[in-house]
């Protein structure tokens, strides 16, 4: 590996630039085909360890929620064991949490049309921080001073249902917005490549029967309507291929 390539990779890894490359790359004139093989940077692997964005209380609440959205049952692990909270934490600590690459200039009129999509000035990381604080306050008031993570599964299901159905919304607490955000990110985490910290042991892919990143299915196309038996593969390979058991 040349120094130039190392420095490009290092720079990009340091900025964890999933999107927003235009700020770091520079203008250049191109003659010929200036490629360096495998120049594309791989995503930084989300590793287990301390929370990067969540406080301990926030993380405990989110872990409790993702485990109700995707409960552990006879079909496989739940959201918590699959790493969905870790996935969300790593995403919020990175460019996604800051809404990098999105158009975030004002003004932000209070009543956008339902057809106009996301129109908030609050980036996703801040939306979690504010939303989880409002949820904690709501739960404290409604459940005798307890925390989200102290609710029973049944209580939490009822709370999440009321949030989803917009029954918990108040001027101070956009509960349905918080629900949609967590629900969306939980599903992303459960089904994204394990390299991002969720879908641990490819639990989400095994639930579906999705074979992952094999990239060549000419054998499958040659024999339609046959059940596929090979186990999934991720960008990290398979756990049994790696000494450290990652993936």
């Amino acid at each position: 590996m040349t120094d130039a390539r190392t420095s490009r990779r290092t720079l990009l890894a340091a900025t964890t630039a999933l999107i927003g490359l235009s700020g770091t790359a520079s203008a250049r004139t191109v003659h010929g085909l200036p490629w360096t093989s495998n120049e594309v940077y791989p995503p930084a692997e989300a590793r287990p360890g301390p929370w990067l964005f969540f406080t301990a209380d926030e993380a405990a609440a989110v872990e409790a929620i993702v485990d109700r959205l995707i409960p552990a049952d006879e079909l496989g692990p739940g959201g918590k064991d699959a790493g969905c909270a870790v996935f969300i934490d790593r995403q919020l600590a990175g460019p996604y949490g800051r809404c990098e690459g999105m158009y975030m200039q004002g003004p932000f009129p209070p009543n956008p049309l339902p057809t106009q999509g996301f129109q908030s000035s609050v980036a996703f990381a801040s939306a979690y921080r504010q939303g989880l604080a409002a949820l904690a306050a709501h739960v404290g008031r409604s459940f005798g001073g307890r925390k989200v993570q102290q609710l029973s599964g049944e209580e939490l299901d009822r709370l999440l249902t009321s949030m989803e159905k917009r029954e918990t919304n108040t001027p101070e607490f956009n509960a349905s917005g918080l629900f949609d955000l967590i629900h969306n990110n939980t599903m992303e985490g459960f089904f994204a490549d394990p390299i991002y910290g969720g879908n641990r042991d490819m639990a989400g892919w095994k639930l579906l029967g999705f074979p992952g990143t094999r990239y060549d299915y000419r054998d499958v196309i040659a024999r339609p309507n046959r059940r596929y038996e090979l186990p999934p593969v991720s960008l990290l390979g398979r756990p049994d291929w790696n000494r450290g058991g990652r993936g």
């Binding site: 999933l18 999107i19 927003g20 490359l21 235009s22 790359a25 520079s26 203008a27 250049r28 004139t29 191109v30 010929g32 085909l33 360096t36 093989s37 495998n38 120049e39 594309v40 995503p43 109700r68 959205l69 995707i70 409960p71 049952d73 079909l75 690459g101 999105m102 158009y103 200039q105 049309l113 339902p114 057809t115 106009q116 999509g117 996301f118 989803e164 629900h183 599903m187 992303e188 089904f191 994204a192 490549d193 390299i195 892919w205 639930l207 579906l208 999705f210 992952g212 990143t213 094999r214 990239y215 060549d216 299915y217 000419r218 196309i221 339609p224 309507n225 046959r226 596929y228 960008l235």
Partner: protein, 589 residues
Amino acid sequence: MRRLPRKDAVIIGLGWTGAIMGWELCQAGLQVVALERGPWRDTASDFNIGTAPDELRYGIRGELFLNNSQDTVTARNTVDQLALPIRKWGSFLPGNGVGGAGVHWNGHTWRFLPSDFLMRSHYLQKYGEGVFPENHTIQDWGVTYDELEPYYDKFEYLAGISGQAGNVKGEILPGGNPFEGWRERAYPTPPLKMQHAQNLFSRAATELGFKPFPMPSGNISQAYTNPLGVTLAPCTYCGFCERFGCANYSKSSPQTTVLPVLMRHPGFEARVQCEVVRVLKSADGKTATGVVYIDAQGEEWEQPADLVIMAAYQLWNVRLMLYSGIGRPYDPSTGEGVVGKNYAYQANSAVNGFFDSSHAFNHWAGAGSLGITADEYNGDNFDHSGLNFVGGANINCTSFHARPISARPIPPGTPRWGSAWKKATRENYGSFANVGSQGCNMSYRDNYLDLDPTYKDRLGRPLLRMTFDFKANEERMSAYVTDKMVPIMRAMGAKQIVANPKKGPWNVVPYQTTHNTGGAIMGDNPRTSAVNKYLQVWDMPNVFVLGASAFPQNAGYNPTGTVGALTYHAAEAITKQYLKNPGQPLVQA
């Protein structure tokens, strides 16, 4: 601002149209520079098997798309509403960087029907004035299918398109589309192999009297070397096509068909991360003298050129014309003016089928344009008498890839979470199939593009404002065609069927299609069109505007085949006619 040495031609944007035009102009001996506001991208450097199949990165976070923070549009449904910026792409996904949206497209490569180019005169003659919808601004294209046929052929052979011809020189061939316009010769490569869903669809549609045929595909079925000497490799049905770069050299794109030779041409250079901010005009306003662009360091440069080729995505061509004062801006209150006029989109629909678990559809094994189509209800292939709409849609059963973050269909009424969701998700993931339609979208007086009065881009320039909604014509067309799709799904054996015809209001969030058209439309009259049949600006003859911005309205097909044909048609007019007498209009107004 620093001034650079003059070039014969400057090309704004290096996607499909810019790359094709660049090659043709270099072959004619011109010194050409292409300015691309996004990054350099190539297969070996950017689309790697070890990183390409990453749904979160490319499919969901959209790494290959234009950043909204760099440029976006504001959107509203009607003229009396306040337009707000699209803060994150949803309904459509403009590309960014070398290759443009030609990097992340699916590869559906169609020819429009001969009657599509005569959308006004054909329907008027056959059905009378009453067939046209209220407030329509439907126009003929000013070019006919017969004129474009050699250029469709040229694009298909450049791109190696895999398909089954239906009409070679008037002879209808079995297994192809019996409704297609005549073609000089067959497709360069045979159709892709089909999956279980396509096999069910073919059988069901045939039983019901349709004549289904393989969708013409820019995912190539076998190795193919194009006339430029560039070789594509066979598709491996990896399932990561639309929204992704292809790591196999199997998807037709500027990278896999033109750039390997264009980039080595001594007459050509590309400058990337360089955004053109306006086209410069002579003192009398009748000629473009070059462009101003800003590089990634914020430096402003003047690039003088004799010929200015606008080859950005449809939206950005229109925006740059409005900024630069090229062509008269359209005014919806009077109907006068041309730039921004006749913005149109695509009215798609879906019929979803949930099957029993004996089916193994294996949708994750597929290609972007692996599919079977039936064209009985497209264009004017069917009698419109008494139907109260014009146009139609093609009916497709394509592989939809079943990438797990975005495609886990469950029957309506199933909870979105919890154990019941989990069970339904597992049960239906492998036994779901879909039949879709790609519907036309007519043009209307109040569907248009202009500059937003409030919102600015990062350089302080107004954003493009889109005023658009689906109208009664499109809703009636979609309901009619979707009704024809349901019996096919029933005959395929679905146990539960959910039909979703297109209905307004248009919403910016759910992905629909990146087929934005119009705004700098072609025609035979400078009062009603921005460019002539060679895509030359009527009142600024050394400027050509390429791409789907030229469509007067949109047909019931994906646009890229027609975009390619129009580009070759324009390129030949420039190299064979215009350059002999530069600065002159190719068509007299």
